[in-house]
């Protein structure tokens, strides 16, 4: 039987190879078969979570609550100094100078990433805009959000800050951020099913020591960070509680 590794579908496409390398590292280190399952949409992955088809997951903050509290997943590590932040941007030529100037019926381009949607909607609240007050434009990815803004087909776009900062200069020059979140508390987390943890009891330690080996360090760099930080049960509970306050 092989275990199943899965990654929240909000990964940057450039990092997909990084996850394959990570999976190879995992199998070599533990001598266990691990299959890397790629989901390209959130509902597909959520279904797999519900059907108990995932053993190890790099979970987004939004799904972490269900994984920990309903599926008993154990949090292991999160990427060092990398929190999830969102940003609301408009086209450079757009008239709005701040969020408060946005009106009812405002066209909002977003991806299906639930954490970014949540943070984006919160940052629209000061303008008295809720889900029902905006016209949603669901986009496949952040490039398409940028295109919608530049072409004047959307008023504002919700971006993962990291994704915005990775847009090409040419694209970014035509956009203007109205507000950036600075939450610092919310992050992705590598979480494991207790059955798999029983087979790999030293996994957390091994993850923390990844940067000490060349193969480990290479794998991490491909994922866009230098090392993992350990995360404890209570720290994770706290993050889930904070996310919970933001859902309403």
């Amino acid at each position: 039987m092989s275990y199943k590794l899965s990654v929240s579908p909000d990964y940057n496409p450039e990092q997909l190879s990084g996850w394959f390398i990570f999976n190879t590292w995992l199998q070599k280190t533990f001598g266990q078969a691990v299959h890397f399952d790629v989901y390209d949409d959130f509902s597909g992955q959520r279904q797999a979570i519900n059907d108990n088809k995932i053993d190890l997951i790099y979970a987004n903050p939004y799904d972490a609550g269900v994984l920990m509290r309903e599926k008993n997943f154990v949090p292991l590590v999160c990427p060092h100094k990398k929190t999830d932040e969102a940003l609301i941007a408009v086209a450079n030529k757009h008239l709005a100078q701040n969020v408060e100037e946005l009106d009812m019926g405002c066209r909002v381009a977003y991806t299906q990433d639930p954490s970014v949607q949540m943070m984006g909607m919160i940052m629209l609240e000061p303008a008295d805009l809720n889900k029902n007050d905006v016209r949603p434009i669901l986009c496949e990815n952040y490039i398409l959000i940028a295109k919608n803004l530049i072409k004047g087909q959307a008023d504002v776009g919700f971006f993962l800050t990291e994704a915005y900062d990775h847009l090409s200069n040419l694209v970014r020059k035509q956009l203007r951020p109205l507000v950036r979140s600075q939450i610092f508390i919310i992050h992705h987390t590598l979480m494991i099913h207790p059955d798999m943890l029983a087979k790999m009891p030293n996994l957390q330690q091994a993850l923390l020591e990844m940067p000490k080996q060349t193969t480990g360090l290479d794998a991490l760099h491909n994922l866009g960070f230098d090392c993992w930080d350990a995360i404890g049960q209570e720290e994770m509970e706290f993050m889930i509680d904070v996310v919970d306050t933001l859902r309403s």
């Binding site: 408060e100 919160i122 940052m123 609240e125 000061p126 303008a127 008295d128 507000v179 950036r180 979140s181 600075q182 939450i183 610092f184 508390i185 509970e237 706290f238 509680d241 904070v242 919970d244 306050t245 933001l246 309403s248």
Partner: protein, 160 residues
């Protein structure tokens, strides 16, 4: 819990008024306040955790920055040191009634800073449930809508 200190004239920014607030635990304190509003910082969340009696056990940096108190002053202090005299007691009764039942509370709150100025927030308070027990409470505040704040500025005075 810490000794409850009166607010001090030397901490005030500009002209201030004075009143005495008596809190739910029957302790009283001299409170000084000005008419200066400090805008909510863009994109931030102001977070704190209390024990089950409302004593502060954790604050984040945005909390420290906005309240004007240091982390040392805040830790172990009752959360009511931020209570503004313009906030109706009924709002906080509703807060405590709700969270003690294990439910989420949200509302608009005018908070008092150490320097007497105030800031409005949209606050959510939730019980932190561990192994089926409420072990603490966490509040996360975000930037409120101006319209809602104006509504509260008219409505809250009618609740006294």
């Amino acid at each position: 819990m810490k000794e409850l200190k009166d607010m001090r004239p030397e901490d005030m920014r500009g002209d201030y008024q004075e009143t005495v607030l008596t809190y739910a635990d029957n302790r009283a304190r001299r409170v000084l306040y000005t008419q200066e509003e400090i805008p909510y910082p863009e994109g931030r969340l102001i977070v704190s955790t209390t024990d089950v009696t409302g004593i502060i056990t954790h604050v984040n940096q945005s909390f420290v920055d906005m309240s004007g108190f240091s982390t040392e002053e805040l830790m172990d202090a009752p959360h009511y040191i931020l209570r503004h005299p313009d906030m109706p007691p009924a709002a906080f009764k509703d807060l405590w009634d709700t969270i003690e039942q294990g439910k989420k509370w949200f509302g608009y709150v005018k908070n008092l800073r150490k320097d007497g100025a105030y800031y409005w927030v949209y606050a959510t308070v939730i019980p932190n449930v561990r192994d089926g027990q409420i072990v603490s409470y966490t509040s996360v505040r975000r930037k409120p809508s101006r319209t809602k704040v104006h509504e509260c500025e008219t409505f809250y005075p009618t609740l006294f």
